[in-house]
Amino acid sequence: MSNNKKKNLTPVQQEYQKFQDEREVKRPVIKNCIKAFFVGGVICIIGQAIQTFFIYNFDFTEQTAGNPTVAVMIFISMLLTGFGVYDRLAQFGGAGSAVPVTGFGNAVISAAIEHRTEGFVLGVGGNMFKLAGSVIMFGVFSAFVIAIVKTILVQWGGL
């Protein structure tokens, strides 16, 4: 906790937080990182295998094979989410299953399933991007900023 936040606390609160902190079980960060590395790595290997499959068996190049690969990965993620497996994988894998595109798919699909009871329009439609919406929003905005930087450098900077 930052010192700024601590300033607003009374001495009793600060004392208790210290007391509590000593007894709190911390996230096993290093262990989580190692697990995330392997789970994320395995997901990427599967993705790579699918991409290679598309390139060798169909008329795709390394550039064009990306789209069908992502579609297949998200489809698998959707099945695993629907069957109630993905959340268990995530408890083990953490960021390893959250960062790849399958994690994004899981965020969209789990919200869609969850709000099915409130109807298709206000429930599924309105809540589907509840979690993923901010990823899209900041993703698009980041791309916009990068595009401006690139434009400035390439068009006018003469790089």
Partner: protein, 343 residues
């Protein structure tokens, strides 16, 4: 009858007419069925949907069934039940209110988060003790998926939970109270204050709620003028591993003589080792189903005579958390004794 002497100290009620818990009803879900105390539930479901089309409706059915079981076991018809006091964790406590609609019993909806079970029992005992009723029901419930949806992420969302987080119980516990009859008696209650130690992590409820439990226990012992050894068991609602350890150490630090065996937590009784519940169980249905099922059964079997139930609640909402507010907590204590008071 000594009406004026009912309040002891500032916030402890003594129930001299000793309202009786004549029967209880407890219902659980599949995860509870695989837990440590399945035989203490009257009814267990294999499916979290309970054949309903939403989790909220499923939770309503949990409450209805727990009420029915309590009435059945107490040999009481719905017409004889004069009031129903209950609550849950869902927005506007709709599952409980909708269950009350089914029964058409005069109803008081309560919200005390996970402390609702004892809030309800304290008020029910108070009403009966003062002659406001001769027969009423009180209970609390929670549903894992409905609560996750309300407070956290979608059920199937893959978010990694920290070791401090707790598993919300799918279950309901209801007690049927009468002014006289056979059964454990409600002898006193201490109403909690809202205590906020400035904690902000919604995945560490136990740590946030521990000071509230400690405050209520200390005040209860002081205002009742008793030593902790008076109770065979002092049981908290859903502090989990971390909250229990923190409050035990806090009580010791404050000079309250309480032993490890004597100080237990409902959140650590319901599930087996190895179930993926991290720091333990939580939810309004946790203390309700464990106390009204497991603990009262043990009491009736003569394992112990006097217990103090301290149900703890974190009074936050997803909104207050997102607005960076801290987590205010509360704990209500009710003493349940078999064979009357030892005074």
């Amino acid at each position: 009858m000594g009406w004026s002497m009912m309040l002891s100290g500032h916030r402890t009620w003594l129930f001299k007419n000793e309202p009786v818990i004549v029967s209880t009803g407890t219902v659980g879900g599949p995860f509870e069925a695989r837990g440590k105390i399945p035989e203490d539930f009257d009814l267990l479901h294999e499916d979290i949907w309970l054949r309903q089309d939403s989790f909220e409706k499923a939770q309503k059915v949990l409450i209805e069934e727990a009420c029915q079981k309590a009435m059945e076991k107490g040999g009481v018809q719905i017409e004889q039940v004069q009031f129903f006091l209950g609550g849950d964790l869902i927005n506007q406590i709709t599952p409980t209110s909708f269950a009350a609609k089914t029964f058409e019993v005069p109803y008081l909806g309560l919200f005390g988060a996970c402390s609702t079970s004892m809030e309800g029992l304290a008020l029910s005992a108070f009403i009966i003790n003062y002659g406001g009723s001769t027969c009423l029901m009180t209970g609390a419930s929670s549903h894992n998926a409905a609560t996750e949806k309300q407070f956290r992420y979608p059920t199937e969302y893959g978010g990694q939970k920290p070791p401090t987080s707790q598993w919300t119980v799918t279950g309901a516990g209801v007690a049927l109270l009468k002014d006289k009859g056979d059964g454990p008696k409600v002898t006193s209650a201490t109403i909690g204050r809202v205590i906020d130690m400035g904690l902000t992590d919604p995945f560490n409820m136990g740590g946030a709620m521990a000071p509230a439990a400690v405050d209520t226990i200390e005040v209860h012992l002081k205002e009742r003028g008793i030593d902790p050894s008076y109770y065979d068991l002092i049981v908290t609602g859903d502090l989990g591993h971390i909250g229990r350890e923190v409050s035990l150490d806090l009580l010791k630090k404050h000079g309250i003589k309480i032993t490890e065996e004597q100080f237990q937590d409902c959140g650590l009784m319901i599930y087996r080792e190895g179930q993926p519940v991290l720091a333990g169980a939580s939810g309004a249905g946790c203390s309700a189903s464990v106390v009204y099922g497991h603990l009262l059964n043990r009491m009736k079997n003569g394992e112990f005579k006097r217990m103090l139930v301290v149900a703890t609640g974190a009074l936050l909402s997803p909104l207050t958390f997102q607005q960076k507010e801290t987590i205010p907590c509360i704990a209500h204590a009710v003493s349940i004794e078999i064979g009357g008071q030892k005074t």
